[in-house]
Amino acid sequence: MSELAIDVRGLSKNFANKAAVSNVDLQMPRGQVWGFLGPNGSGKTTTIRMLCGLLKPSAGEGTCLGFDLRRDAEAIRRQTGYMTQKFSFWADLSVRENLDFVARIYQLDNRRQCVDETLAVLGLTHRQHQLAGALSGGWKQRLALAAVTMHKPKLLLLDEPTAGVDPQARRDFWDQIHRLSNEGMTVLVSTHYMDEAERCDHIVYLAHGKLITEGSVPDIIDQSGLLSFRAEGKGVRVLEPLMAGQQGIEHAAYYGAALHISGHDRAALEAAVAKVADQGYSWQEVKPSLEDVFIALMEQSGGDKRAHG
């Protein structure tokens, strides 16, 4: 048995000659939690769909759980749980009926008991007879996660599972993900949230269908070569538009009661800081955040903004 849960090379997908995913390589060991990041339309959903056999790759090959992506789609399907980006359980079935259906189609033993347990873990026992369509967004997501993990898949593909979910529920969600991972599941999660990215063992960043960078969070930050400076002080926010226009400053943003500027060119950044040094704010160099790095990556991959320094 291969130690890699996902092992694909040159994965590509074209829609009507428009490339949605091009030439993506992924080697994901079993048992890890990986984050899939990238701006809207970068090809996250398309890649996940190819991994679980819902889309035929236009090019590329590889295996999922040791099964060939093209030939053994049915076997992959049986051992994979895929949570779609848009809620896709049956709105006109009750919570329980949805779980019953899943249990039947995967032929789980002790169906009743299995569904009861899932409902209990989910905290939905008291609402099991409510129609799934009547659940709030956050509860729908929880139902979906429970449903796609009920058959104990080896690989879990979660496509933006926490979009529109409140912070408390999001934390619960991640506790669940880590619990499942501890049970031995391999989990690939797509997300737009930085705090979620930081909960992953490994990040894959896509833009325009291409894999731009991957690695652990500290590695990605180090590899980016990005430098950040932070200014604190009363009214520092007014500096933002001024700094944003400066040579060498690729990005300026005010958050956490401080102004952050970042760029790749140390000399240019220091020069920009020196220009406003007399205004009484306290400047210091800081480690760039993952968000800074991703925004820089997004802008780089956007095309002509690549020129800097």
Binding site: L54, S88, F101, I105
Partner: protein, 379 residues
Amino acid sequence: MMRLGHRLARINAVFIKELIQMRRDRLTFAVMLAIPILELVLFGYAINTDPKHLPTAVHAEEYTPVVRSILSGLENSEYFDVSTSHSDPRASDYLLASGKVVFVVEIPAGFTRQLIRGERPQLLVSADATDPVAASNALGRLSTIVNQALAKDLTGPLAHLRAGKGAVDLVVHPRYNPEGITQYNIVPGLLGVILTMTLVMITGMAMTRETERGTMENLLAMPGSPFEVMIGKILPYVGVGLVQTVVVLVVAHWLFAVPFIGSIALLVLSVAIFILANLALGFTFSTIAQSQIQSMQLTFFFFLPSILLSGFMFPFRGMPHWAQMIGEVLPLTHFLRVVRGIMLKGAGLQESVYDLAAILAFMLVVSTVAMLRYKRTLD
């Protein structure tokens, strides 16, 4: 064997899901049951194709005992209600044109004398041909009615006049309906029409509904072959179709006293095959259509020729050759023959086997198309 068990389990999963969804969709469910009753009543009563008591005017230029026999014969038949008698020939035109009467019976002067001489005088019946179906049965019976009425008078030396073409030369508008459509004929046909319409329509939504509600992606990500999904999805509607059949037959028996002389078991078998063929077709439509609207359009595209060319609307043998060719492909055509045969003529398996095989062949072809069209990916 293990594999079969897995298959059955997955079919069962889809079957139960569909059953619940069907039950929950109350409106559709109610419509499925209301349509048979509504159509039966409409076709059975409102669209009564064997109307009786049709207003009739008589324009007689002589009133002899023979003429009176003919007129009372018309009345007694219940098809003709003689509402006016008059002697003005122009009045006849008016009565017909204004729709006050459906028939005008004209008896010329010297009718009786010619009759007795064996000269076969003309008995002219003008019919309102705007609705030929309405009058056709009355007209069809006319010569029998007249000959029976005269039989009482033509006795002794006149008895020879009854032989041959009859004593009277009946001149009528030659509208005829060779199959003589009656409720007996319509009700079995209606069963086929109702099953075709409702079942093709409902399964036509089977896959498009999943696509439109966004649940298709989930269904595809789960195990289950196209065949298993198809069987699971159409099975609940076999039950619906059988319930509809019982409703139609019970109502038909109760309202119209339609006879049933054949084998119930054979009828159930035929109905089951026909239901499956329609469900398979509906499922196929749902794999072709992109949306529920499109699948509705496909259903109607199929439904029209089924009604028009199957022998339900028009007598099959009266249609041009090309129309019969199309008709032979349609399951409804064969179903009508089988059901009319079983119910009205007491036909057995031997008489029905060709038509049943034709329906099965249709089902096989259509299911194959469905399996080829069913996409297991979102491409």
